[in-house]
Structures are given as C-alpha cells and as structure tokens.
Amino acid sequence: MGGKKPDPDESGAASHGQGGAAPTRALEVERLFRDHNDSLIRFLTLRLQSRHEAREVAQEAYVRLLQLENADVASFVRAYLFRIAGNLAIDRLRRRATESRFESQCCDAELFPGLFNRPPDPETLAVERQRVDQIRGFLHELPDAVRDAFLMFRTEDMDQESIARRLGITDRMVRNHITRALVYCRLRLDGLAPADALLKLKQGTTR
C-alpha cells in the first residue's frame, strides 16, 4: 500500500475542505471508497431496493465526509461512513413515503470513477445472466418450501409473517428457510457439489 503522499495538486472534489487538510481528507475518503464501497452499496441496496439510489446516497455520504468540519482520523473509519449513509437512506425512505416522486438533490457529476452505472458491456451482461441462471438452478435443488419462502421474501416483497401464514409454518422456520437458501447458493457457487452443500447445511444451526 504505502508510498502514497498527499499531492498538493490533488484537490479536485475535495476542494470543499479547508486549507492543507483537504488533500489528506480526500485521500482518506478515497481509501474508504476503495475499500468499502462495495459493502456500502450492498447495504444501501438492501435498504433502498434500488441500486441506482444506493449509489446516489453513497455519493452523498462521501460528499458529507469531505465537507466535515472538525474532521479527525476517527471520522474516516468505516463505521462513520456507514452511519452517515444509513441516516441518508432513512431520510430518503421517509421522503419516499411522503412524496410520490423523489428528485435527487445531489450531484450530477460523479465523485469517484465507477460509482455510477455505465452501460454494461455485452460480456458483463452475459456473465450476469449466466449467474442468474446458476442461482435459479441452485434454488431448484432445494426443497420446495425452502425455495418458495426465499422467493416470496426476495422477489414478491412479502414480509416473514405473511410468508409464514401463507406456508402454514412459523416465522422462525421462514427465517431459517431463507437463510438456508442463501447459504446453499453461496456454498454451491463456492464450488461444493450438491450433496456436500446439503450435508454442510445439515451441520448448520438452522434446520
């Protein structure tokens, strides 16, 4: 990693900051982006159900970090980034509930390269489609109730209580089914054979 020195010319997006601290802060934020952006986007995507909005909120969070008054090292730990982003996500969900249409108020320009969607190339699309097919196949290897519970939760946006009523099982079983579906797909994607993945699931705590 080392050898990265604050570059006096590297002001760029960090020019909101104050005096000589800005380049360092820009580097810190950039490091956070580099190391944690994927997780942050996943977290926000889970919250907002929209990858695009997740990216917008993430960008807003980075801008907030860059604009912090009295920033110290502790400001640039990941937890802080996530807290800011989490709060922004809550704001957005609240506003979504009261306004029928939500206009982005943040930044047309892209703060970090790769933060926003660019049109995916055909190869990436093909890989993604293949991955979706793979997951579909894995899910079909599972007992029907496990797959149904998972798909209701994931694609039909049903809450766990409703799924439990629909399937005539307890909330806890619904939770376990969803967990098993996710873990099983992961194990299969990691290269475990079906029988081995099933055996592994049985060793787990959720049965």
Partner: protein, 332 residues
C-alpha cells in the same frame, strides 16, 4: 483452496449469520440499533465482512429472478394405488392379509405432486420435502407424489439415484413402468430405457415388484451390492452381483457399462449428448459393450468406437450420427 474443517465450520456459521443480517436489514434496517449491531458484527472480524459480502452478492443476483414462476406443485387427491399397498404388505411378509387391507384402505391420501426433469447433458439434484434426495441423470423425467402414507416417484425416462429419508410410516417407491421398487430408508439407483430397467442397491435393501409372467415370483428382495435387470420385452428378471459404485458413477461424470447391448449403451449416451446417435442394424445393436464413457467426452468416445468394433460412424444430414456395420469387417 483447501480450508481446514474447523475453519469451514466457522465459515458456515458466518454465512448463516450474514443471511440473518441481510434479513434484518431488509425488514428493520431503519432501526439504528440494528445498523449499529450489524456494523459491529462486520468490524469484529474481516471474515464476517467477507461472509456478508458473499451472501449479499447472492441476494442481489437473486433479485433478477423476479419473473420466475414458482414451480407448479399441484395438490391432488389421489387414490391409493393398489399395487403399492399390496406391495408394502407383501414386503413385510403379510401377503395373506394384503387383500383384506385393500378392502379396508383408509380415505384417499392428499398428495402433493410435482414434476421434475433434467435437460440433456446435465445431471441435477432435488431434495424433497421429506428429506429424501433425488439425483437425476441427464435427460431424466420424474413425477414425485408425497403423501402422508406413501411417497412415490414415477420414473418416466432416464436414470435416478435416490437416498431415501428413513420413514417407516411412509413407504417410498420408485415406479418405472412395469417395475416398482419399494424402500423405507436406503439408497439405490434406477435406470430406465425403452428395453429394460436396472435397479442397483447402494445401501440397505429394497423390494422390487414387477408385472412379470404369471409363473414368476411377484417380488424380489435386493440387498446392497445386488442388481436387478428387468427386460420389458421378455418380462424376465435377472439378479446379479454388481459393484454399486459402477452403477452410480454417472453422478460424477462416468458412465459404466458391463456387457450391455450397444443399443442400450447408446440410449444412455444420448441423454448426455447434444447430437443424437442411432443404430439401425440389428447386428450392431446387439454388440456387447463393456467399458466406460466420460459424460463430457461423448464425441471422443464415439470416434473411438470403430477401433473397438467393426462399425463406422456416419454423419447424417439431419445432424444425427449413425453407427453402421463396417463393410470390410463384415465381408471378412
């Protein structure tokens, strides 16, 4: 990468916890305490963070399954099938009261039936609601009916390995046309072609019932390592010793054949090949083949065939391949 067992179990736990976090964030992620606790969990160990990312990636990809119709599980009321009932009683040595039992049979069972099939060239696995595991060979089609009193799989075509979840109150049967295999908790393989059905027991024992000739014994009990071959044409049954590992090697991509007519071999080969192969000549159909074929190297196997037999492979205009007698060899 080889991960020691201890580590792998820890990984399993992390994946489970990560899955629960995904669910919590989805359902109550606006709760700051949840966010706090989640971040704490992630930060306490980089492997936790990794596990979360790994599960979140699955979550994201599966979001694109939205247009997926859920597989049709149809609840139907079906009558007990007489054969299965009589079979289970006879299997217990109670053939004498089987008929009485039939008259006093309980109300029709409520059964959930579902159809499963695997495409040509691809094996697949299905865990049933009762815990039994079906492994389908390529190009295989089954109907599964799970009732409170009986579990039944109809094997329409192809090959099937079953690890039956032990449940004495619900006999488990595989029906392959005129042959029925009955088990409670065991593992066995059934291969069905047009000509015959082969049952191989890998673990435990099964009872096989067939609609054979009137003078034949109605059922055969098979133990581990025994194989039954039922001929559709002559309605005859033969039982022999066979290494179950050979019969189920298809699960790891190897097809094993032991003194099989070439026509039977090709029926199985065709389930794994995009292009079909046909044999018209009866002499070629009856050639006896012993050996193996890799399911991912069917083309190479076919090319090698003329070295082992006096045959030639002809490419047909419709894309199929014909195995025909090798003219020179026959004229010798």
């Amino acid at each position: 990468m080889i991960v020691p067992w201890g580590r792998r179990d820890a990984r399993l736990q992390r994946l489970e916890q990560a899955s629960l976090w995904v669910q919590r964030i989805r359902t109550s992620g606006q709760d700051e305490r949840i966010l706090e606790a989640w971040l704490e969990w992630c930060q306490s160990d980089p492997l936790n963070q990794q596990a979360f990312d790994d599960i979140a990636a699955i979550w994201e990809t599966s979001g694109q399954l939205s247009a997926e119709p859920r597989p049709a599980g149809v609840v139907t009321r079906t009558m007990y099938r007489r054969r299965a009932l009589v079979a289970s009683l006879a299997g217990l040595g109670l053939a004498g009261i089987a008929a009485t039992w039939w008259k006093l049979r309980p109300a029709p069972d409520e059964v959930l039936t579902s159809e499963f099939s695997s495409p040509v060239g691809v094996n697949s696995v299905k865990t049933l609601a009762d815990g039994s595991v079906l492994e389908l060979g390529a190009g295989t089609r089954v109907t599964v009916a799970l009732g409170r009193h009986e579990r039944r799989v109809d094997l329409h075509e192809g090959e099937l390995f079953v690890a039956v979840h032990h449940d004495t109150s619900r006999p488990f049967s595989v029906d392959a046309g005129r042959l029925e295999v009955l088990a409670t908790g065991t593992a066995f393989n059934v291969l069905r072609t047009a000509e015959r059905t082969t049952v191989t027991v890998a673990e435990g024992s099964v009872a096989a019932f067939h609609e054979g000739r009137a003078d034949a014994a109605p059922n055969v009990r098979l133990q581990t390592g025994q194989q039954l071959v039922y001929s559709q044409a002559s309605h005859t049954v033969a039982v022999r010793q066979a290494d179950p590992r050979n019969a189920i090697a298809w699960r790891s991509g190897t097809l094993n054949f032991q003194n099989e007519p070439l026509s039977e071999v090709i029926t199985t080969i065709n389930r794994y090949a995009a292009r079909k192969t046909v044999i018209e000549d009866p002499g070629v159909q009856e050639l006896s083949f012993t050996g193996t074929a890799r399911t991912d190297q069917i083309d190479g196997w076919l090319r090698a065939l003329p070295h082992a037999f006096p045959v030639a492979i002809v490419e047909l205009a419709d894309g199929r391949r014909l195995i025909r007698p090798q003219p020179h060899a026959l004229s010798d």
